[in-house]
């Protein structure tokens, strides 16, 4: 389990934190690694803070407990940082990626966080590509760029296949998400 990699997603109900964890799980699974993807089921209300998780490893994963010490935390909604300890359990070696227009240094200072911080204006990207505020897939693009454990082209292919199952009759949603991931990959800083 030495190469176990754990991800925690913070979002608000309706922003697709659960969906993106499942999507990442499927995409990584298709690359041959072992995965888990699961949401924290609390009161599921639109706008309420929620979390979801991924585990990734080259070995079978038998853990069935919550993720307490993530390697990477992704924040889909910057306003969550005011009320939720988004860096909880994250060590100084850890990575934080935030959907924000701010420069990473600002977030780093505000949170007093010692690890690596990346930002991406995922809300803007999603509005321009998907046509509405849906920061989840662009933030997955940022994750892929930052972690480098997946090949972008492969991710785009797998994502397209996965979205085709769900949005067969809405090709614009599929293309929008693909463009969102591509742009996020380029624009994360």
């Amino acid at each position: 389990m030495e190469d176990l990699f754990e991800v925690r997603w913070h979002g608000r109900g309706g922003q697709g934190a659960k969906t993106v964890a499942l999507l990442l799980g499927e995409v990584v699974a298709a690359s041959g690694k072992y995965i888990q993807a699961f949401p924290e089921y609390g009161p599921e209300r639109m706008g309420a803070p929620i979390q979801s998780f991924n585990r990734i490893s080259s070995q079978p994963i038998t853990l069935h407990c919550g993720v307490e010490k993530p390697d990477i935390v992704i924040v889909l909604d910057p306003s969550l940082m005011e009320t939720i300890d988004v860096i909880g359990g994250l060590s100084g070696e850890g990575t934080l990626i935030v959907n924000s227009r701010e420069d990473p240094s600002v977030i780093k200072e505000n949170l007093g966080f010692k690890g690596k911080v990346f930002t991406l204006d995922a809300s803007k990207i999603s509005r321009e590509t998907i046509g509405r505020e849906m920061p989840n897939t662009p933030m997955m693009g940022a994750l892929i760029k930052v972690t480098k454990f997946l090949n972008l082209k492969e991710v785009l292919e797998k994502t397209r296949t996965k979205l085709q199952e769900k949005f067969r009759h809405k090709p614009e949603v599929i293309e929008g998400n693909i463009r969102a991931i591509e742009r996020a990959y380029q624009e994360v800083k």
């Binding site: 072992y34 699961f38 089921y41 079978p60 038998t62 069935h64 407990c65």
Partner: protein, 392 residues
């Protein structure tokens, strides 16, 4: 041999197994966290991927009643439920087993009200432990799927209903890798259902559910008890065949380094997976730790457990349900009972954990092994029963 791996939640994996089983009748009522099972399955029905007669009933009591009726008529019948749904099936559970109907039921473990809670514990299925149903528990999504496939054979061979459980949310909603059987493999393994006695066989009419008072009721219950005893061989045989064909081993329990261990835990369900990680860490520190993961709780493999556990010095039994009996959890009672006949008995303690979905992590499980080592060193048990991580 098998289809390539895919990512599925336990609910999706169960629905997939049900698609391959293609039961004659499925009657079900939705309940969190088991709803997806029949939701996905009903889509298979609507899409013509199965030929099942799907009966959307108005309650779980009706679901089990409809399934009992279908099974008596000669159909391969299934339902799925959780928690309060299982509780509402109660009186019909006993009827299904006593009529010797090979009904198959995936059961997603969830706490019982009150207070209302949708998360995992084993109170629901543990409460049904004396209902004459075979109970198979699962550690992972893969085991859940494999257990459902095997359950069909076990039920139809033993003529007893089988409940396959999976942990609510922890597994039911957790995406993991699953290697399902190919459709043909599943179909060949399960085989065709040919009931010996069924009500639609009008050439051979018989009576069902007749009054059975002081003169014969006892004999009929004795036969039912005998069927449960006989099912042990059947479960092992089908597990062997499954391993021979598909490479994954299924017995009454998994011996995870128990054989040479001094301190060991007995765990059911998904927490066993987390415990394996702790055992590995302890083994690296040269601590002789082990885990016995129980798969088959009914029939209870008392003799086999005794054999494996007899040389362990200190044992902790982890119960994800409380019997509220002022003594211990249900699994502890059974395990301690099984060890009673040993001349030199291991020391044994009970932990009740995870009620209502309370997370059990590496730290908590480590603390249990620390307690066991202390008992091993001092020979003294400070507390027979511990409510793990509860605020009091």
């Amino acid at each position: 041999m098998s289809e390539k791996r895919m990512a599925k939640t336990a609910n999706e994996a169960i629905a997939e197994a049900m698609r391959q089983i293609n039961p004659d009748v499925v009657a079900a009522y939705p309940i969190t966290p088991a709803t997806e099972i029949v939701q996905i399955f009903s889509q298979f029905v609507a899409d013509g991927k199965v030929t099942t007669e799907f009966v959307p009933v108005e309650s779980e009591h009706s679901a089990m009643s409809a399934v009992v009726g279908a099974s008596l008529a000669g159909a391969r019948a299934m339902t799925a439920t959780s928690s309060q749904g299982l509780a509402l099936m109660w009186e019909i559970l006993y009827i299904a087993s006593a009529l010797r109907l090979p009904v198959i039921m995936p059961m997603v473990n969830r706490a019982l009200s009150a207070p209302i809670n949708i998360h995992c514990d084993h109170s629901d299925s543990m409460g049904a432990r004396d209902s004459g149903w075979i109970q198979l528990y699962s550690e992972s999504v893969q085991e859940t799927y494999d257990n459902v496939i095997q359950a069909v054979r076990i039920a139809e061979r033993s003529l007893l209903p089988v409940m396959v459980t999976t942990d609510g949310f922890i597994l039911s909603h957790c995406l993991e890798l699953l290697t399902p059987l190919l459709d043909k493999e599943a179909k060949d393994f399960i085989g065709e259902y040919r009931p010996k006695n069924f009500l639609l066989d009008t050439e051979h009419p018989f009576t069902v559910g007749a009054l059975d008072l002081q003169d014969y009721y006892f004999e009929h219950k004795r036969q039912e008890a005998e069927a449960m005893i006989e099912s042990k061989k059947i479960i092992l045989k089908i597990g062997e065949e499954f391993e021979r064909k598909f490479g994954r081993r299924y017995e009454f329990f998994e011996d995870y380094k128990v054989i040479d261990s001094e301190v060991a835990t007995v765990v059911i369900g998904s927490a066993a997976g987390t415990t394996k990680v702790v055992v590995d860490q302890l083994r690296e520190e040269k601590i002789k730790a082990g885990l016995l993961k129980l798969r088959v709780f009914r029939p209870f493999p008392a003799e086999e457990l005794k054999e494996l556990l007899k040389n362990v010095k200190v044992i902790a039994v982890l119960d994800r349900a409380d019997s509220l009996n002022a003594v211990s959890g249900p699994l502890f009672s059974e395990i301690r009972n099984a060890l009673y006949d040993l001349e030199e008995r291991p020391k044994i303690v009970n932990y009740i954990y995870g009620l209502g979905g309370r997370d059990i992590g590496l730290k908590e499980i480590h603390s249990i092994y620390e307690d066991l080592e202390e008992i091993n060193r001092t020979g003294k048990i400070k507390s027979l029963l511990t409510y793990l991580g509860v605020r009091e």
